[in-house]
């Protein structure tokens, strides 16, 4: 068992910002992260010498360590109880963390969309490709198609090319219009934008198009494109061995859900996200703060600055120093809003799925299964789960949540906010039964180790 003042969950830009700010004010801080090294997806480590972004992350991690921030890495969070107690698994063994205050900085993951063939091997998320390239020096394929929407596709396209991978097509649902000109209002971001554009110069880019289907025998071999919106056929890309599809990001809200924080749905912020005070990161639960993508997808810079703000406020709430608002946060958020205007969230993606298309990968639940449940009266994520098992598998709705909401919106006209979401339960991730038994013996009377099912 480890006792600390503030436990920060997530070691990306938001978590590191929170940890550094809170530690500077004198609080004891422990950062918990599932991956082997701190940095998150944006500041992924180890940093190669030529990668300025990763080097910036290495500097922040170094700063946190030199201030005396503690790290618990390779620690997968499977439970959170009031008080606050966090249940982690490290190398298969249980580890409990107790803290007076929490900062949730769990980030986001690629927003999945269900289309025919999306379960074929070789179809992955751009985030998966980035981890393979950066951590493993392994390419997702030799000739790939990148598709979906958002600036992250440009980032990954540049990284794939730098690794010698042929990008056969970059398929972007949005059609950037006059809103692009508003980039002129952010001269401080010009070097970043120029580097991004250099990385993709000369690439075959299709705007206003989507992947309608991935085809192949036991792996992706061919990609069928369609115009967006409308889905008029727009040709195929042949001889493909990987298809990377991501329509932006979804906040990782399972921990904040377990803790009972208030959430809201906004497609422009990646869907369901934690409602947090914009200046302090305070959530609706006393002692629980949140920062970064989990409070609504906005990018790394608002995450870092929002992390500083939340860490400072969390420390101040425990009597360590006074809350400090970091400079530049409002401007960083304005830049994020501009990105959102250039790449607005694609709506109506439920039209991509056919009746036989799988929505829930864990349990092989198809759109036809969903429509049968809707015909029987199911109209919420919770009801659909009971009817079809969609969301009952190990992903706990993290992957199928968005495709399910898309399908319900398209087939039954239901608003994603009204559909709700698959509520996270303990254990958040599969956990050895010995670990559960060990913790159960230490919890106060009346606090169950596992969530009741239903």
């Amino acid at each position: 068992m480890t006792q600390t003042d503030i436990a920060v969950v997530g070691a990306g830009p938001a978590g590191l910002g929170a940890a550094i700010a809170a530690r500077r004010q004198g609080a004891r801080v422990l950062v918990v992260d599932a991956f082997a090294a701190p940095g998150g997806q944006y500041w992924m480590q180890p940093a190669s010498p030529g990668n300025a972004q990763a080097r910036e992350g290495a500097a922040r991690i170094g700063e946190a360590r030199s201030l005396g921030v503690d790290f618990l890495t390779g620690a997968e969070l499977w439970a959170a109880w009031p008080g606050f107690r966090l249940g982690c698994v490290v190398d298969g063994a249980g580890r409990e963390v107790r803290a007076k205050s929490l900062v949730i900085a769990t980030g986001a993951h690629d927003r999945p969309v269900a289309f025919p063939g999306w379960t074929l091997p070789g179809v992955m998320t751009p985030g998966a490709a980035q981890r393979l390239l950066k951590l493993d020096g392994t390419s997702p394929g030799r000739r790939v198609v990148l598709a979906g929407s958002g600036p992250f596709l440009l980032v990954v396209a540049g990284q794939l090319r730098a690794a010698g991978v042929e990008v056969a097509a970059l398929v972007e649902a949005a059609r950037p219009g006059r809103s692009l000109l508003r980039a002129l209002a952010f001269p401080e971001r010009f070097p970043e934008m120029a580097a991004l554009l250099r990385g993709v110069a000369g690439l075959p880019v299709r705007f206003g198009a989507v992947v309608a289907a991935a085809q192949g025998q036991d792996r992706v071999e061919r990609v069928a494109l369609a115009r967006w919106p409308g889905l008029a056929p727009a040709g195929t890309v042949e001889d493909v061995d990987a298809l990377l599809v991501g329509y932006g990001f979804r906040p990782q809200v399972d921990l904040s859900t377990l803790l009972g924080c208030r959430h809201a749905h906004d497609a422009a912020k990646g869907g369901w996200h934690v409602v947090a005070d914009p200046l302090t990161g305070a959530t609706s639960v006393a002692g629980v703060f949140a920062a970064g993508e989990v409070t609504g997808v906005a990018g790394a810079r608002p995450a870092w600055l929002g992390g500083l703000a939340a860490g400072s406020a969390a420390a101040a709430s425990l009597g360590f120093g006074a809350a400090v608002a970091p400079a530049g946060l409002t401007r960083a958020r304005r830049f994020a809003a501009w990105l959102g205007a250039v790449w607005p969230p694609a709506r109506g993606l439920g039209a991509l799925a056919g009746d036989a298309t799988i929505l829930c990968r864990c349990e092989d639940v198809t759109r036809a299964d969903l429509l049968a449940a809707v015909a029987d009266g199911a109209s919420t994520a919770a009801a659909v789960k009971m009817w079809t098992r969609c969301g009952m598998g190990p992903c706990q709705g993290r992957i199928c949540g968005a495709p399910l909401a898309d399908a319900l919106e398209q087939a039954a006209g239901l608003d994603p906010a009204a559909v709700g979401r698959n509520e996270a339960r303990i254990p958040l991730r599969p956990v050895p039964v010995e670990v559960v038994a060990e913790v159960a013996g230490r919890l106060p009377d009346g606090v169950p180790a596992l969530s009741s099912q239903g």
């Binding site: 991956f35 091997p121 992955m124 985030g127 998966a128 799988i358 990968r361 092989d364």
Partner: protein, 82 residues
């Protein structure tokens, strides 16, 4: 083959780079699918690559249900696919 280590994939000895993920090792061996889905028995492989989706499960050193994207290779590791 200096700089590589030996592991067993489905009982067969293979050499891979040390420290990479099991998923990267399998991809490097030309494998893209290493699991069957529960109802349709369809081929599945790596999807999210960051521990979220549980599509890439393998058995490692006798322990089932390990995510190939998170697990790192070590010498003598026994990987069994589905």
């Amino acid at each position: 083959m200096s700089g590589t280590i030996e592991i067993l994939v489905d009982g067969a000895p293979v050499r891979v780079r040390p420290g990479i993920s099991v998923a990267a090792a399998l991809l490097g061996l030309g494998r893209t699918a290493w699991r069957r889905s529960p109802r349709q028995d369809a081929a599945r492989g790596l999807f999210c690559g960051m521990g979220v989706c549980f599509e890439c499960l393998v058995t490692i050193d006798g322990v089932p249900g390990q995510r190939a994207c998170l697990a790192r290779i070590h010498p003598g590791m026994r990987v069994e696919t589905g």
